[in-house]
């Protein structure tokens, strides 16, 4: 790895990601999806950090919970609908902001977001996404699989 040549590294990365975005095709390999989902999770953590700001810290247990919880859901969404990150990025990171705001609220005066606050925030996000997906699905009844796709990233399909 040449750390002095970020553009050289970037070229390789961009070829990979732009091919996915341009084709809009589902990535075939689970390894590719797992690789892609790690970047998605990173970006969501970055977005959560932006929303939390310097108001409080986050316990490591909560970081572990958030990664395990959402990586599985994001991977499941990608396996079902392909890598649509280029299209979904803005929506998904907006929900990350909402998650963070809820977590800060649940953490209250503690000064740090603990795992319980993260769990409560995750439940709120899940409720919001399901309602949003139901509403969006009603507006576009012809969109096959649309409702579950809209719910996809943050809700997953484990809730029935």
């Amino acid at each position: 790895m040449n750390l002095d040549d970020p553009k050289g590294q970037l070229a390789a990365t961009l070829v990979h990601s732009s091919t996915d975005a341009a084709s809009g095709a589902h990535l075939e390999s689970t390894t590719d999806l797992e690789h892609a989902v790690d970047f998605v999770v990173d970006e969501c953590f970055f977005a959560m950090g932006q929303a939390i700001g310097m108001r409080m810290t986050v316990d490591y247990d909560a970081v572990v919970f958030m990664r395990e919880h959402y990586r599985a859901k994001f991977l499941s969404a990608m396996q079902a609908f392909g890598n649509r990150w280029a299209q979904d990025r803005q929506n998904v990171t907006s929900v990350a902001w909402m998650f963070a705001e809820r977590a800060v609220r649940y953490a209250g005066d503690r000064g740090s977001i603990d795992v319980e606050s993260a769990r409560q925030a995750a439940a709120d996000v899940q409720r919001y996404c399901k309602l949003h997906a139901r509403r969006a699905g009603k507006l576009n009844p012809d969109s096959e699989g649309g409702q579950s796709r809209i719910a996809g990233y943050w809700c997953g399909d484990d809730e029935g």
């Binding site: 790895m1 970037l10 970006e43 953590f45 970055f46 977005a47 970081v63």
Partner: protein, 128 residues
């Protein structure tokens, strides 16, 4: 948890720290995420596997460096709305030089503990 498994949690923790500093001031170009992940995944794994660093022990210090990385990226991005790869690379270079300075200082500090300045050199003759 083995370092290879733990590394992704650590990277998430660090991305969160970087985001905390950047806040709402700017966004981050997607290629920066790719570049930082690749770069720091290798560096952190090396630190854990080769040097025996532990996240439990080092978390506070490393996430503080993550916040510093965010600060430097903000600085280098100047009036751009988003932090681009060039700014990120410059911020990483700043962090590298900061870490080198710390390592030298810590190294000297360690030597000072081992060889306190109050102890006279064995070859030095004392005059009473």
């Amino acid at each position: 948890m083995a370092p290879a498994e733990q590394i992704d949690y650590i990277l998430n923790d660090c991305f969160l720290a970087v985001g905390q500093t950047i806040g709402t001031q700017k966004s981050l170009d997607p290629d920066v995420i790719h570049w930082w992940r690749t770069r720091y995944r290798a560096a952190f794994l090396h630190a854990m596997v080769e040097k025996g660093n532990s996240w439990e022990r080092d978390r506070q210090r490393v996430t503080a460096v993550g916040r510093f990385l965010g600060e430097r990226a903000l600085f280098h991005a100047q009036d751009r709305l988003s932090i681009d790869l060039e700014s990120a690379a410059r911020a990483s270079a700043d962090v590298d030089s900061g870490c080198r300075m710390n390592a030298i200082r810590d190294g000297v500090a360690g030597l000072r503990v081992k060889y306190p300045p109050t102890l006279a050199h064995p070859d030095t003759k004392t005059v009473n």
